[in-house]
Symmetry: C2
Subunit: 248 residues, 2 copies
């Protein structure tokens, strides 16, 4: 196998693949060698496209808009070509016959080691045999492997934007508001962890609390007043309205 | 001590106080006896205001707008009177001399047992001696007790609305979008847990990812298109704009 890419996903997957017994991770390619330099402990690294080795499987863990152009540099036209993107259809790889997707549904940050056993790995392949290959690999990494087609994966990725990117942005707003007021934001961490942990037992709709749900317009008005940042006032209003409507 | 209230906070605090060695929990009062019936294992319960017992400490774990009226029914004018609200100033209790606040910064749901040891308990009192009493009680319940005045507490509560109420609403939107598309939303749980867990090691601003951060306007447009609910389109746009601006 050859992994292509030098970002968060390439970093984590290279480590995972290098620990799979059935995989021989030959090489990691990235146009910028510095961002993969620490991966030379798990495989040979290169930044030269014409040095990409012949392999049976290529994993393109690169940004969505770079996938298509990268295909020209894959030296084995009979190989199984995978991408790792949530939003991109498998068909972008159609220049090749043996194609598939290996998408870990998780927020991955370089150097932040994480247990992959619980991470859903969403796999898809054009050919049945290749799907079995993917399944076999994914099962060595995670206990939560699911067959998901490109349309479903796009929907899951969109939901992930809400529960990860947008949620993390609300964390930022809360943190920065407290920092501006000289309060250490780490006071919020137990609340944040429990808010997430509750989903193991409850549907989020059934555990909503707070001023918007109980239509406490006095508290809502005083909190909007307290926010100094205009954009955060708009976010506060919009999300409060949306919550209030949900519990009418 | 007498606890007044029958909601989530009253339920949890009654259980916690009943386990404190230095507290004799005499009674729990609520206007609706049914919602406290299961608490008769930890104290006497009543729904009659004129039967509220004489005690040294009264804990008003009731909704913000009910606090003022409830004060008329406290039979011991020399007692220490506490409320448990994040948004309400301590001064609302000014009809009494010995007043204070005992605010657990956590999302509490009845019957959902939770370890209080890590929950920040924010305490405030008008008199030094009473603050020591509160500190002594809070220390028996949690390892994270902090002196926070009413102004600071209001700010922390506002931040909590962002990281709890609003975050939980984004969970709801993600869940419902997948449910409408016949995908089991529990696939999101590992991502949600890790997104929260990351804050133990990182500031949220330093770990943002996704289409809005990298200004991937093609993905953003296709995701807005994919959302059917108009209001969710507006939320998606507003939060994406806000993220994009943060990383300019």
């Amino acid at each position: 196998m050859v992994v292509i890419g030098g970002g968060n996903v390439a970093w984590h997957l290279s480590k995972q693949f290098s620990n799979c017994k059935s995989i021989n991770l030959l090489q990691i390619y990235n146009r910028n060698i510095l961002s993969i330099s620490d991966l030379n402990s798990v495989a040979t690294i290169t930044d030269k496209v014409d040095e990409i080795k012949i392999a049976d499987i290529y994993v393109l863990a690169i940004s969505d808009n770079a996938i298509k152009d990268m295909l020209d540099f894959i030296p084995n036209k009979k190989a199984l070509i995978l991408h790792t993107s949530g939003t991109t259809s498998m068909n972008i790889l159609n220049k090749f016959d043996r194609i598939g997707v290996f998408y870990p549904l998780q927020t991955l940050t370089k150097f932040n080691e994480i247990d992959f056993k619980n991470i859903p790995i969403l796999i898809e392949a054009k050919h049945k045999d290749d799907l079995l290959i993917l399944k076999n690999i994914a099962n060595q990494i995670s206990d939560n492997v699911q067959y998901i087609n490109s349309e479903e994966r796009k929907k899951i990725h969109l939901a992930a934007v809400f529960v990860n990117n947008f949620v993390n942005h609300l964390y930022s707003i809360g943190y920065e508001f407290l920092e501006e007021n000289n309060i250490n934001p780490s006071i919020l961490i137990p609340l944040i962890l429990e808010t997430a942990q509750k989903l193991v037992n409850y549907h989020p709709k059934n555990i909503q609390t707070g001023p918007a749900k109980r239509k406490d317009f006095i508290t809502i008005a005083s909190q909007i007043e307290m926010l100094e940042n205009k954009e955060n006032k708009v976010i506060y209003k919009l999300l409060s309205d949306s919550i209030s409507k949900q519990y009418e």
